[in-house]
Amino acid sequence: MNKERSSVFAGITWDNMVLSSLMVISPVIVCGDTLRNAEALVYAFSSITMLSVCIASFVPKKLPYALKVIIYALISSLVFIPVKVAAQEFYPGIVLRVGIYFPLLAVNSLIVFQTEAKFFKLKKIPMFFTVLFYVIGFDIVMLLTGIIREFLAYGTINGKVTDVDMLISGLSQPFGGFIFLGLMCGLYRKIRSMFSKEVSEVRSEADVSGK
């Protein structure tokens, strides 16, 4: 029972899709430089992924894998249209700024790959909560990245000016985001290995350095 519960919460604990599996990292790196951008991406990612996966779960499982993946992509593309219209209403200007990364969310790996590999092997209700926690896991990372990068790069939080002495504007650029995400991944794995002996044992067994 505990194991089942922990696997439902895995998306925000030990199997965070961004920090652990490095999925959907490009919007985090390129567009996650302000909280406002992060909010827009969180809204788009959450609504597209949740709706698409829930609708796609009704696709017959007997269909060939290639056909199913195409159908999932079509469903998410259809979901994307109203989400984008609403995003232009809620976040005017941000959609344009985020650019190609906004429509790319419609074909993210959670919808295209993880559905078959993980979610559709579960029953409907556990699947819904598992997807929900994976999405929340992404949202947390996205918002954290947006807040910290905006604070360090622009000296503001959600557009409000703060009293920061030294700004690191390189963090607002993709290479800064890449480095920042790399550091966050390292920190996450360190914390995870501290809390989970099993994980660290597996990691040490998998060590191929030969030292």
């Binding site: 002495d165 030294m166 690191i168 504007s169 390189g170 963090l171 800064g176 790399g182 390292g186 030969g210």
Partner: protein, 360 residues
């Protein structure tokens, strides 16, 4: 192994001596502020190296003192009056993000100093490219005033040089704290090449690439003037010695290193004349790290192929099906012809394997 470690430390000492001489020159032009900046950078490097090694569960050894030479290189690439916090941030970035995150000093991909320079350039570009005039001394805790653009910027944008050759040789023009003393840099290059502390191939490749392009496409009135000024400005000489020819980054074989340097020299000159970007060679050297890695992989593949072919040769020689073993009268194995060559081969093989393990 012991010899290699000793060599590594000697390289660090030689580098530090040349860098300290440049720092001395910087002190002469910009006063104690320049020394204080170098001190802050070196201290920040040591602290961040010790802390990051502790996080990586490694011990701090004398070999890890190389972080101080990287810190000094960074300090010399910055304006002498640069904010201490920015200098410290650059050094921490170099040690933690550009070096230790990739596995430490034995697994380096970028030159830490070059990566830190690019980081500072993208984050504090305006502060980075404004310099004090020579002999305009600033106190340790004072804010610098009347900062000016560098002589490199003036040359890149207008093609004009307002300094005599003597001033250029002594570094009596505005620019990074330690990268302008051309005479001292030339001496440092000669010393470091003869003591095999830097990759001669990479250094000569960079110089050749830049000089050939300067001859083909001169910026000044004459070709000789272009060559003269190209090496005096934009940190070409400094970067060729301390960044491109860094033995930890450049390919080991001299001819591979030469082409690595040549590509950097050519591309940095092309970017220089098309974009007029100051000190572009440092950015190019960071962008060209994949080339260095590719050359290193090629070297490794060639070495592996050589080892396997030598092994095949040895096996073929000793695996004759009907080879009779005739013992000497005293029961010892007889001295066969070519035994000395075989033992030499085995010795070479074991050295190559040891070197490979060291590299790992």
């Amino acid at each position: 192994m012991q010899k290699k470690t000793r060599t590594e430390r000697l390289v660090w000492i030689d580098l530090m001596l040349t860098l300290l001489s440049l720092e001395l020159m910087s002190y002469f032009y910009y006063g104690t502020r320049s020394l204080a900046l170098a001190g802050v950078c070196v201290s920040a490097a040591l602290i961040s190296e010790i802390l990051s090694l502790r996080v990586m569960k490694k011990r701090f050894t004398a070999d890890d003192m190389t972080c101080t030479s990287d810190a000094l290189i960074i300090a010399l690439m910055l304006p002498a009056v640069m904010d201490y916090k920015i200098g410290a941030a650059a050094v921490v970035f170099a040690v933690v993000c550009a070096k230790n995150i990739f596995g430490g000093r034995r697994n380096m991909i970028f030159s830490p100093a070059a990566a830190a320079y690019v980081f500072v350039l993208t984050s504090w570009g305006r502060k980075m490219l404004l310099y004090p005039a020579p002999h305009d001394k600033t106190g340790i805790f004072e804010n610098a005033e009347d900062l000016i653009s560098s002589a490199s910027y003036l040359y890149n944008t207008t093609g004009k040089v307002e300094h005599s050759d003597f001033e250029l040789l002594l570094g009596n023009f505005s620019g990074p704290a330690g990268a302008v003393s051309i005479l001292l840099l030339m001496l440092a290059a000669v010393i470091l090449i003869f003591r095999r502390d830097i990759s001669a191939g990479a250094f000569l490749g960079t110089i050749t690439g830049t000089a050939v392009l300067a001859m083909i496409s001169p910026v000044s009135d004459s070709r000789s003037e272009t060559i003269k000024y190209v090496f005096a400005f934009n940190m070409i000489l400094f970067a060729a010695i301390y960044v491109v020819a860094d033995k930890r980054i450049a390919p080991k074989k001299q001819y591979f290193a030469f082409f690595y340097g040549l590509f950097i020299g050519i591309f940095s000159y092309i970017l220089l004349i098309t974009t007029a970007q100051e000190n572009v060679i440092v950015i190019v050297s960071v962008l060209f790290t994949p080339i260095a890695l590719a050359f290193k992989n090629l070297e490794k593949k060639i070495a592996d192929a050589n080892i396997s072919s030598e092994n095949d040769l040895v096996t073929d020689d000793n695996s004759g099906p009907d080879m009779p073993i005739i013992l000497a009268e005293d029961g010892e194995l007889p001295v066969i012809e070519g035994e000395a060559e075989v033992s030499e081969l085995i010795k070479e093989l074991s050295e190559t394997v040891e070197e490979g393990i060291d590299n790992e």
